[in-house]
Structure formats: structure tokens, C-alpha cells
């Protein structure tokens, strides 16, 4: 599968093991991680408490009243020995996120374009032409870390995070892109706003995006975004 010494099981407390599968971020990791998620659900059954997949790892939380850490470790070792890459399901669902790219909702759109030496239209095109993969969810419910953006658009996080980023804000940090499911603090470079409801407690599955999914940002007009029910309040209005 990959680097020497991997996969490796690392202690993660009384009720957890971290399975380290890879040592670098790569789209090719995803079908292995999604396969391991599924296999762990089957292997642990009722003793499984939670699973946290991420770029190169899977954290497995088990019930220490049903299993000792040693038993859980053996179960994981057996599961890993039989693991096969998730060829069939590894493609993930495909989502299109209607997005209005504009400086009034994306205050870093213009500075980011300038830094990249591109005009704004070209910047938008480069962000919208990539089909991204979801590598991890975290930070907040439904917040999906997606990659990888065009190298020209790579930008470090803001030095001082904003206290309040509006829901639906689309941003870039490093080689990653994401959309904020809800109002929260945040340090990503904002370039637009999507109408997609990324987290909905009343929807089956709650989160629109899951690890392994494929995502495209589709440029739309402000009017289209409003019709889709999105909040298009400008950043200035929020201050």
C-alpha cells in the first residue's frame, strides 16, 4: 500500500486506535480509507462508538466496556490484513455547489487574483474548473476540507482570522478549498458564496459532503444565488 512501517496502529487513549495508513496527502488514499471505514463498521459492530477518517488516517473509537484496547487492536489488525481498496465506491458522490464569486461576498477574491498575477475572471475559472475531492470533515459540522486547488491559487490563511464568516462563504487556505456550513470564526481567504446547504440537521445523513465525495463549484449570478435562497449579505454589512 505505501511507505515502510505503514499501516500502523497508534494508541489514541483508553478507547481509541489511530490507524495510520499513509504519510502523504494523496487522492489515491481515499478509496483505502473509505474501505476501512466500511470494514470497521462490520468488524466492530455494537462495540464501535465512532470513526473519524482524515487525509491519511482513521481514528477508531470503541466501547471499552465491550472490548479491551488489546482486543480492539487485534480486531483492527485482522481488518487491515483483509483490506482491499474500495474500487467500486471509491469514486464518491458528485456534488455541484452553485457559487457566486464576487468581491462583495469574497473579500480576498481581488487580492488573491493580484497575487496570482491573474485577472479575476481567470481566477474564478481556475477555481471552478477543478473537480475536488473531500479529504476530511472537521472544524465544524459539515465543514469539508477539499483539494487540491490550482497551484497559482495557493494562499496561506489570513494572519488574523475573522470573528464572523457568513454561512456559505467559499474560501481557500493553502492548496485546500472549503465552504463554511454555518456562521463561524475563520481564517480562510474568501472568494465567493455558495447556496448549497452543507449541513442540515433535518436531512438524512445531515452533511451534504462526506470523505471521498467529488465536488465542483459552479459559477452563478447573484440573482441565481438569491433564487436558491442563499444569504448574499456582503461582508461590509456584517461588520
Amino acid at each position: 500500500m505505501s511507505a515502510p512501517g505503514l499501516p500502523r496502529l497508534e494508541s489514541a487513549g483508553l478507547d481509541g486506535w489511530l490507524v495510520r495508513l499513509f504519510d502523504v496527502i494523496d487522492e489515491a488514499n481515499l478509496p483505502w480509507i473509505t474501505a476501512l471505514v466500511r470494514d470497521c463498521e462490520a468488524a466492530f459492530g455494537d462495540a464501535l462508538v465512532d470513526l473519524v477518517p482524515s487525509y491519511t488516517t482513521l481514528l477508531v473509537i470503541f466501547d471499552p466496556m465491550r472490548m479491551t484496547p488489546g482486543e480492539a487492536r487485534s480486531r483492527l489488525a485482522e481488518t487491515l490484513a483483509a483490506l482491499a481498496s474500495d474500487e467500486a465506491d471509491g469514486q464518491g458522490e458528485v456534488h455541484e455547489l452553485p457559487t457566486w464569486y464576487h468581491e462583495s461576498v469574497g473579500p480576498e477574491l481581488v487580492p488573491l487574483a493580484e497575487r496570482a498575477g491573474l485577472d479575476v475572471a481567470e481566477t474564478i475559472a481556475r477555481h471552478a474548473e477543478v473537480t475536488y475531492r473531500v479529504y476530511a470533515l472537521g472544524f465544524a459540522p459539515g465543514f469539508a476540507f477539499m483539494g487540491s486547488v490550482d497551484p497559482r491559487l495557493e494562499t496561506p490563511r489570513l494572519e488574523t482570522p475573522r470573528k464572523k464568516v457568513p454561512a456559505g462563504s467559499v474560501g481557500i487556505a493553502g492548496r485546500q478549498t472549503a465552504a463554511y456550513p454555518a456562521v463561524s470564526p475563520g481564517g480562510w481567504n474568501l472568494i465567493g458564496r455558495t447556496a448549497a446547504r452543507l449541513f442540515d440537521r433535518d436531512r438524512d445523513g445531515f452533511s451534504l459532503l462526506r470523505v471521498g465525495d467529488r465536488v465542483r463549484f459552479v459559477p452563478v449570478s447573484k440573482q441565481a444565488l438569491v433564487r436558491l435562497g442563499a444569504d448574499v449579505t456582503t461582508m461590509e454589512d456584517r461588520r
Binding site: S11, G13, L14, D15, V37, D50, V52, P141, R210
Partner: protein
């Protein structure tokens, strides 16, 4: 609202909100892969005892009262139990010490003042508090806007009502009115927090490791349900940041400033700082009762010892 609420009746009304009071059941599980944190009681031990004294099974929702300040008026006859911190509680102006069961008649007022010993008190009601579960849990998480009495993760505010089941006024089965002395932690004693060393421990410099387990740490004022920052010697690690990965309850992470942070119930689900290891659930519980300035020690333990201690604790609860 669904049937869960319709079967419930008003139990307690907030006449004065404190800084933070939230309903907590055992936590929100199975959704961490969606970025949803676990929530649940910061002090598992006191929460479990409050429920046991109220006659409840493991997992019933109880009220976590942080720092005090809160005042609650009974809307009906209730059987309640209080455990955890001594927040100077009074029942109609008579002192009410924690670790016991008691009754409230309609109109009686339970008030919390400020910490006398410990930081978080747990108030359980016979049958458990009722609210609409969100993602299968009542755990109130302010940062995510999920769960709690209103389903939106809001802390209790003046005028809010806590709902109870219709059985809440009946005496629970069993006549245990108080927790035995051995179940009551001495919050004045210096905590020794059990830590299971993690895989990255070898990446810390030798002197830092010696310091981690041989010096006094002090609880910083940056301490909440997400995590507790500790102040002490600077810990140096060969790894500075890593690819983000899932984080366990109690994980002790060390950001580049070298000051460890113990991550608690409302932590983010993934993160990328190296970790010394993870506190045991009971060590997290003890840490959750520490006020800023409290001195404590970290103590490495084996998984065997930690498991035996945890199972002994859990055996007391059905």
C-alpha cells in the same frame, strides 16, 4: 415538536441564568466523521452519580452548571439529585450540599452561587430531563448550535423551561439518598491526571518529557468545554505540525508555543498538533473541575491500569 416533548411537562423555570448551564446526556456519537463533536458531560463521574442518585440509568440527560449563578424555580413536585462541584447551592436559602438526592415542591427555588469547591455541578431529575434529540442526542454544544434544552445548543437563559417526564415527582426505586464518601472526589486536593502515552511521545525532546511528568502544571484561564490549556515548562517536539487527524477525548496536544492543551468534549474532531497522549476519561472528569490557577500533575499510566480503573467506575452504574 415530536412525541418526546409532548409527553414531557414543565419541570423547572430559569429565574436567573448563570454563565453557562447546558443539558448533557452521554454525548453525540456516530457523527464525528461529519465534523460533529461528541459533547456530553465534561465531568463524567459527577454526571453519572447525579443520575444514579436520581434513580436514572446511564445516559439520562442532566444539567451541567458551570461556575454557578443559576436560579431555578420548580413548576411541579420533583425528585432531583445534585453531584459534582459545590457551587454554594441553596434551596429556598438553606444550604444544599452536593452528592445527594432531594425534593422540590412547586414554587421552591434552587440557587447556585459561586464555586466553593470544583467548577461544574450536575443536576439530575428522576426520569431525566426531556428535550428534542438532535442527531440522536440531547448534548448541548454551544459552538455547533446543537442539542440542549432548545435543540440549538443555547445555554440556559432567563425564562427558559426545562422539561421533565411525568414520573419526575415520584420517588426513584432504591433508597440511596447520598453518594458514599469514596465516590466524592476531594476537589481541594492536587489532581494527578492519568495519561496514556501516545505514539508521538518519542518525538518530544528528553528534557521535555521529563518536565511533562515531573513538574507542576497550572490550569490557564483559557479553559472551556473544548479544552484546557496548561501552563508550565515549554515542551519541545521534533514535529511541529502534522497532517490533521482524528482526536480522542483527553488528547494532550502541544502546539508550537510548547504549552499543552488537554482536549475535552467539545473539541474539534480533527487536528494537527503532536500529542503527548490522552488523559483517561476519569482524568478528563477531574480536570473539568479545576478552576484557572489550579496546580496539577500528569502521570503516565498503562492501558491495563486505566482500563481496570474505568471498568471499576462504570460497574457502579447500570
Amino acid at each position: 415538536m415530536t412525541a418526546v416533548i409532548r409527553k414531557a411537562v414543565a419541570g423547572l423555570r430559569v429565574t436567573r441564568p448563570g454563565p453557562l448551564a447546558l443539558l448533557q446526556d452521554a454525548g453525540r456519537f456516530g457523527v464525528r466523521r461529519l465534523g460533529v463533536t461528541q459533547g456530553g458531560p465534561a465531568d463524567l463521574q459527577a454526571w453519572a452519580w447525579a443520575n444514579r442518585l436520581a434513580g436514572n440509568a446511564w445516559g439520562a440527560a442532566a444539567l451541567e452548571v458551570t461556575l454557578g449563578g443559576l436560579a431555578l424555580e420548580a413548576e411541579r413536585e420533583l425528585t432531583l439529585a445534585l453531584a459534582g462541584a459545590d457551587l454554594g447551592a441553596t434551596l429556598d436559602d438553606r444550604p444544599l450540599s452536593p452528592w445527594q438526592r432531594f425534593r422540590l415542591r412547586p414554587g421552591q427555588v434552587l440557587r447556585f452561587a459561586q464555586p466553593v469547591g470544583g467548577l461544574r455541578a450536575y443536576l439530575a431529575v428522576a426520569g431525566g430531563f426531556r428535550a428534542e434529540p438532535v442527531l440522536s442526542s440531547l448534548a448541548g454544544v454551544v459552538r455547533e448550535g446543537l442539542g440542549g434544552h432548545d435543540g440549538r445548543g443555547h445555554a440556559l437563559a432567563e425564562g427558559d423551561v426545562l422539561h421533565v417526564g411525568t414520573e419526575a415527582g415520584e420517588h426513584p426505586v432504591g433508597d440511596e439518598r447520598e453518594a458514599p464518601a469514596e465516590a466524592r472526589p476531594d476537589y481541594a486536593a492536587m489532581p494527578r491526571l492519568s495519561l496514556l502515552p501516545g505514539a508521538q511521545i518519542a518525538e518530544f525532546e528528553g528534557a521535555s518529557l521529563a518536565a511533562a511528568f515531573n513538574t507542576l502544571w497550572r490550569v490557564d484561564d483559557r479553559a472551556d468545554r473544548m479544552g484546557v490549556r496548561l501552563r508550565g515548562p515549554t515542551l519541545r517536539c521534533r514535529l511541529t505540525s502534522m497532517i490533521s487527524e482524528g482526536i480522542s477525548l483527553g488528547a494532550v496536544q502541544v502546539p508550537p508555543d510548547g504549552q499543552p492543551i488537554a482536549l475535552l468534549n467539545d473539541r474539534q474532531t480533527i487536528g494537527g498538533y503532536p500529542r503527548l497522549g490522552a488523559l483517561t476519561p476519569l482524568a478528563c472528569a477531574r480536570l473539568a473541575q479545576c478552576l484557572p490557577g489550579q496546580e496539577l500533575r500528569l502521570e503516565a499510566v498503562s492501558a491495563e491500569r486505566a482500563l481496570a480503573e474505568h471498568r471499576r467506575f462504570r460497574a457502579a452504574f447500570r
